[in-house]
Each structure stands twice: as C-alpha cells, then as structure tokens.
Symmetry: C2
Subunit: 395 residues, 2 copies
C-alpha cells in the first residue's frame, strides 16, 4: 500500500532490521527518489548536534536529495571526530547501495547518545534493503524508538485540476523539545515547486504543527523535519504568496498537524492526547507562552493522568507563563465544562468532569479575556509508564 512517504509519486521506501537495536525490530529506513528530489529541512536548535544530522544539514544545501537513510537505536551523537567520520561513511555506504552521490544522501540517526554507530551492521542492512512504492510503513516502523506505533499521514488534493500528493512519517516519542536526533519526520510530495518555496512552506507549517507539541517539558522545536518533492505532479509551478501556495500549505498542515498530534498522543507513557487552546491574549506570542506553560507542566499532566479536574494547576501555569493579562478575566473549560470564570472557581459536576477526562482526547480551553491573540498546542499526560520508560532507558 502506498502510504506515508511513498504516497507521493516518485518515492520508494523500505525498512529492515539490522541489529542496531537489542531486539529484532526494524531499525534502518530508507526513502529513495531516483530522479532526485528538491529538499528542504528544519533542524534542531540545540547547540549540541548529532553527527548524522549535521551532515544532513550540510548536504541539504545542495537542494537535491536522492536518498534519506535513517537508523534508530543509536543517535550518532557526542562522539567528536569519530561521529563526523561515521556520518560520512554512513552516507557513502548508502550512496554505494543506491547508486547516487554521497552528497545526495541525507543521513539521520536516533537513539542512544555517545555510542559509536555500528557501521558494519548498517552496511549489512543496506545490502538487504529494497525500496518499493509499498515500503512506507516499513520505513515508518524502522525509525521508531520508544514509539508504540508507526506514524503516517497522507493527503491528496487538486491544484489547478491536477492531482497532488503529500505523505509523511514521524517518530517521537520522548525528548520532544529543542533537542537532537529524537524527533524525526520525513514528508514527501510530488507537487511542482521550487526548493525555496518548499522551505518557506515547511517553515510556515512547522510553526503550527511540530513546533506546537511538548511531551517532556520544554517548548517544542523540530529536531529534524525533511520535506522532499519529486515535482512529478503536473500542477503549475507553485510560487510564494499565491492562491496555489496557500492550498499547498493548508494541505501540508493537514499532514503535519496529524503527525504532530500522533506524536503527542504517543508520548512516552501517554494515556491520552491533550489539546490546549488559548485565546484572549494581547498577542499570539502571549498565547503561546500560556499554552507552553500548561503543556510542559508536570502538575497539569499528572492531574490529567489521574482524571483530576485540577484547574488550579492550569490557572497557576497561566499565571507564571510570562504572558500579560488581567487575572480577573480568566475563563477555563475542561472539554465543554466551564470550571473557572473571571479568575474564580465555578461549582461543577465532578462526575461530568471525570467523564470528559477519561476520554482518549481532552481539550483544555483557556480564554484570558485580554485581547485577540491565540495559540493551540498538543501534549499528553504524565504517567507511571513515563517514569518506567525513562528510569532505565539506557541500561
């Protein structure tokens, strides 16, 4: 089935198990665009950068990529010169396997930090990998680390009467914040578009999708999101600031927001997806501060795990977020149940609150009544399993 990264024309993919992980799960993914794809990327803002990621960031400057290769189980990070050399070898091995130039390879690695990349295993893995148009799912499985399920999203739409596709895959599911080698997403499209316009679209869409999730506590910033286009659709060339561009961006949003929500819902140990909608701020930036504070508050997230309508923790996070607002005009809703009006608690049915909080998706709505700014973020609850997963991740 053509799903995820192989939903768009011109792309093949595959995933295999080559033994980098301690189990028999897939751990090496490849996405191929034989004719060469225009490529754009956003990369972590962490000062410490993984070696594979650094090479990807360098190679993407060429604007054309033929292969994306991703291993899970090892981050190829914090290994000084050796890590850089290994990234180059990773790209060279891939170029040899797929008959392209190493500069046309975008390598990525995710997993444990500080252990040398097992290139012998990767080399063996590359020899048995065989990308096809049905390989999207195998690739999505191969990039998983603590994810419990593969994440893919697709959308097809008409642009000037021509069929265009966007498909993608992503992996989390911990350390999702300004970070390295932990959140990875690859999106493909066949839209006819320039590299510059692709970059602009990706940056715009990341702001409302991958940059709006928080799992571990910090404001989320993309670790690495790649957007590749085979340009094989017959649509008229998309230029910035046109109606066509806005349609393309909207379609890309659908894919990226869906993937971002999947990441949040499958956050480490998560039992539910929490959407935080903030409005009524003086600026959008203030709304983002409030949404960030709530989505990263362990107290709000443990309360959600306990199905506890503890709006006191929500208003507390609103208060320390750094946003400016009038504390006497704050309204808070859990689902459609209003629990706080004008900064004061309302009597509400605990049974009704429990019913809302027990669901797999919960929406917190906060209106601070001080303006027209707004923002939406996605997170998950904080459970015992989060502690279990992370207390002995490495050992």
């Amino acid at each position: 089935m053509q799903s995820g990264v192989t939903f768009s024309k011109g792309f093949t993919a595959d995933g295999v198990a080559c033994g980098i992980k301690n189990n028999s799960d897939n751990d090496l993914a490849v996405i191929i665009c034989e004719k060469g794809a225009k490529a754009a990327g956003v990369f972590t803002q962490n000062v410490i950068k993984g070696h594979s990621l650094k090479l990807s960031r360098q190679n993407i400057q060429n604007g054309i990529a033929k292969a994306v290769v991703i291993n899970s189980g090892n981050a190829n990070a914090c290994l000084a010169e050796r890590g850089d050399a290994d990234a180059l070898k990773f790209a060279q091995l891939s170029a040899d396997a797929f008959g392209c130039n190493p500069a046309e390879v975008l390598p990525a690695s995710t997993g444990v930090i500080g252990k040398p990349l097992p290139l012998n295993l990767i080399s063996a893995g590359l020899s048995k990998i065989s990308p096809t148009i049905d390989g999207g799912l195998a690739a999505a499985q191969a990039i998983m680390t603590t994810d419990t399920k593969p994440k893919q999203a697709e959308v097809g739409f008409l642009l000037g009467g021509k069929q265009v596709h966007i498909g993608g895959m992503a992996k989390g599911s911990g350390m999702v914040h300004p970070n390295m080698a932990t959140m990875i997403s690859v999106i493909t499209t066949d839209a006819n578009i320039s590299t510059q316009t692709l970059k602009l679209a990706l940056k715009t869409v990341c702001e409302v999708s991958f940059n709006r999730i928080s799992i571990d506590g910090d404001t989320s910033v993309c670790d690495e999101v790649l957007l590749l286009s085979s340009c094989m659709a017959d649509n008229e060339y998309i230029k910035p600031a046109t109606f066509q561009f806005s349609i393309f961006v909207d379609a890309l949003k659908v894919v990226c927001i869906r993937l971002a929500k999947m990441l949040a819902a499958d956050g480490e140990g998560a039992t539910k997806l929490i959407t935080v909608k903030v409005s009524g701020t003086k600026t959008n930036d203030d709304a983002h501060k409030i949404a960030s504070a709530i989505t990263k508050s362990p107290l709000c997230k443990t309360a959600a795990f306990g199905n506890d309508a503890n709006w006191g923790r929500i208003i507390t996070a609103v208060g320390y977020s750094g946003a400016s607002f009038d504390p006497l005009t704050v309204d808070i809703f859990i689902g459609d149940l209003q629990v706080c009006k004008n900064g004061g608690g309302l009597p509400f049915s605990e049974a009704k609150a429990l019913n809302i909080l027990k669901k797999k998706e919960v929406v917190y709505t906060i209106n601070v009544g001080s303006g027209k700014g707004s923002d939406t973020m996605y997170t998950c609850d904080f459970s015992h399993d989060y502690i279990s997963i992370n207390a002995d991740y490495r050992t």
Copy 2:
C-alpha cells in the same frame, strides 16, 4: 527546644490541628514577636496571586509585624472578592487572638486552590494555639503539605563579640517554581538591623538558595519568604556594604541554603538530592541557564531515579539551555567520575557510576570550558511516587 523560627530571641511559635486538612495533622502555624519585628519579604512573581499572600505583601509595607499566621490544606487562591475578604478576616481573627493590630499580621495559606478558606475552623484553631519558645517544630509541622518531614535550620554566630541568631523553617514540596502559596519559608533573627538592610540581605540570599531549587520543572522563584528581626541581640546596628553585613549575609545563606536543599531533597516523590554545579560559562547567567535546564529536565531526573549514568541527557540539556559555549570543550562528571570530555563520551565503569548514583546525594559537575561564569542549583529525581502523589492530589 528552641529550634527553627524560635531559635532567635524574641520569637514564640506554635502549631495546631484545626481540621482544614482531611487528616489530624497540624495545619495552622503562628509565629509571634510581641515587641514587633522588622519584616522583609519576597513574594511570588506569578500574575495569579493567593489572597492571603496579597494581604501579607500589603501589610509588610508597614515594616513591622507582630504575628505570622499560616494555614496549610487550603491556598485561599482564585476566589475573587471572597478570597480577599477572607484574608482580611484571617488577619482580624489572628489580631484578636494575639492582641495586635490586623495590619501587623502577615497571613499565608497553602494547599488546594479554589476552595473557600474555612474560617470557622481557623477561628477555633486560633483559640487553642499557645505560642512558646519551644514551638518552632510544631509550627514547621503545621505548614507542611506534601512534605514528608518538617524543615528547620539554625545558625548562631558572633557579630562584634555579640551573640546573634538566625533560625528558619520552610515547606515545599511540589509546584516549586514561579508560583503561589506552595513554597513558604519564615526566617527569624535577633540581629540589630534596619528593615531596608533586612530586605537587601534577604534578596541577596534568596538568589543563591530558594531561587536555586527546582522540583517540578520550572526555574525556581520564591513563593513567599519572610525574614523577621526582633533586633534583640546587642550587636552594633548592621549597615549595608560593611564587614558586619557580609557576616550576616553569610550566616543567612547557611540557613537558607540548608532549607533550600531540604526542600529539594524532599521534593514530591524524591529519593535523592541532586546538586548541579556548572562552571566555565561566559557569564553567570549562562551557567544559570544550563543549571536550570538540567534541574528541570524530566529525562535527567528520571535517569537519576533509575541510577542511570545517562550523561547524554545532561549534555542534551546543556545544549538546549540557551547558553552559548563551544560544544567541543564540555566536560561532565557524575560525582567524581568523568563521563564526558571535550564533548565526547569517555569509557567509564558502570559499576562505579551505579555506586555514586545510588547515594542519597548526587553531584553533577559540568564545565563547558568557555569562560569563568558559574552557578549551582538543587533538585531531586523524578520517581513513580511523584506521579502517584500528583495524579490524585485534589480528589
């Protein structure tokens, strides 16, 4: 025994159970200075402020306090006009009980947000409270919420040959960050000093003590710390920028850092105290950013709980902290065991690391090799009990 807030001359205290909490624990504390104490305070920077706290902040402007009254079990927060009126009544009831002016009372409340303060219970509690010089411990017990033990610290020292005392108590142990009504500390002294100088000393010392702990995830800011002086020691009047002042500040540091470390060590669900020492930054502010990032990282804290020497998470937090430094000069030590040199992992004995991490106190030392800035912060690990405590705190 004269301990905590009654260690200094001129102060009496007591704590009683009046039924605000659902159990039979002490939940009402009082500290009395009959002759009237000079008073200084630092208060939460949260936009949302508890009603009792707001009244304290107002009353402290008078510079003289005769009574500090603190209830646990109820935060008297987010109750609009009613909360303000209740704070006034709380002060009036206390003034009636202790024969002073309501403006000389500093009320504080900590506990659940959004529920009206049970003034009838408080009134009954005040009628049976009897402050003595041995009541420090009872008061320290009465301000506890999720704390597992009362927290007191004392220091006596000579100032120009005269005996001076500083003693204090504090409570945590969750929601320790820019917040309200959750961290409370009261420090007393008998040093002969002006209100202005007292304020200066408190502000200076908070920066390296209560403002250097993080339990829940955010940078720590005092919620409410009161410093009261009976001025009953015979020392020469302390003036700012003198040798006497620096001795007083150093002694105050001893008390406040000890209390701050107790708060961190008794953080909700904590099994160990983690001290994070950062050096080698271009500025002290950069060092603080790094220390903050590590102390608030759930990934670093769960690894500590699991006795996992996962320095990759530490260097990751260093990298996203916002500090500027050269990634190739970062050294990391867990206890005295170096695990990372010049940004790259070192081989180390996992057994030795485990021995260090199993202890009740663990020190992480990070030198980024880019300058002379430094900072130290305190936090705890993140355990299953944190989730249990907070998933059903309110219900």
